[in-house]
Amino acid sequence: MKTPSTPKPASQKAHADAGFIKLTEQLDRAVDELDLSTQLALQRARQHALRSAGQSRSQTQSRAWWAGGGLATAAAALLLAIVLIPGSQNGLPTNISAMGTPTSGIPAMGMVADADNGASISDLALLAEDEFLLLDEELEFYAWLEEELDSTI
């Protein structure tokens, strides 16, 4: 169990506070008289830290340059794509004519169909396959069934 500490007289307290000043003076003296090897080691540590700060700063800058450059290149490529590729302006699929949709009324689609002729031929071959015809029949059947249900309700 702790015993309650007795209050010290003011003179003793003042003496002790003067002791604090002496303590800090001793510490100041220790710092002033620090041996040369420690001083040099501290100097080296400081220079090392500053060098690493410089390196990290230049790395950050180069990263910013690369990010900026990449962004500019991407923007330029996107602009080029919009200007040079006509189909992308409407956002329509380029092989829309191959799906059996009439394109005569839409000149841009006709152009796209001509430009993408190779792809259209392969799409036509796909549409002519038996599997696609079966699927088409099924779709017709489901449409009819829906109409029937609507009429009964």
């Binding site: 303590l23 001793q26 003296r29 501290l42 540590a45 400081r46 500053l50």
Partner: protein
């Protein structure tokens, strides 16, 4: 070879100048705190190399994290990092000592202390005077080392480094109330010890 446009050159020069100014400012700050930081680390570790490592690590962490901070905020932040390093060091030492004492009960700390001891740097003082000064310094260090680490830290930051309560709290990573408690306990113990010296 293509030459750089004048405007770009000007921007580059301005940037380099600001980087140099920042480095100079950081250099001045670190030069101002490094010896005191070492003294605090020395009091906490009682090992020259460990104290140097703690200060160097603190400098590296400081320039990476807080290099852009205004001058008024730098000191408590630097001591905060140092304080964390020294606390980690204390924890590692405690664990290591526990293991060492468990496995090698014959481990002699006095022998270890003898290996670490270096003769004092007298700087041209008379041998008697140097001895007295050295004894005073050793007594001071022993007295401060006898305090618990948080109390010693609070005393050094408040009394020696001259930080106010709020900045000491930032440096120690505790509340201002906690700083007051640690500081009060430290000065109570030191007053008693200094009375005994009398």
């Amino acid at each position: 070879m293509e030459t750089m446009p004048q405007s770009h050159q000007l921007m580059l020069n301005q940037h380099q100048q600001s980087a140099t100014d920042a480095d100079e400012s950081l250099n001045d700050f670190l030069a101002a705190v490094e010896k005191r930081a070492w003294q605090m680390a020395w009091l906490a570790t009682h090992n020259r190399d460990d104290a140097l490592d703690a200060v160097q690590d603190s400098m590296l962490a400081f320039v990476k994290k807080y290099a852009d901070k205004p001058a008024a905020e730098r000191r408590p932040l630097f001591y905060r990092i140092l304080s964390n390093r020294l606390r980690d060091y204390g924890r590692r030492q405690t664990t290591r000592k526990r293991w060492v004492s468990a496995w090698f009960s014959w481990f002699d700390e006095d022998q270890q202390a003898q290996v670490d001891w270096e003769p004092p740097d007298v700087h041209g003082e008379l041998p008697e005077q140097a001895l007295n000064n050295q004894h005073m310094l050793e007594a001071t260090e022993a007295l401060l080392r006898s305090l618990p680490s948080r109390q010693r830290e609070a005393f050094l930051l408040r009394e020696w480094e001259g930080l106010d309560v709020a900045r000491t709290a930032t440096a120690m990573g505790v509340t201002p109330g906690s700083v007051k408690t640690h500081y009060f306990r430290a000065i109570q113990k030191l007053r008693t010890a200094l009375e005994d010296f009398r």
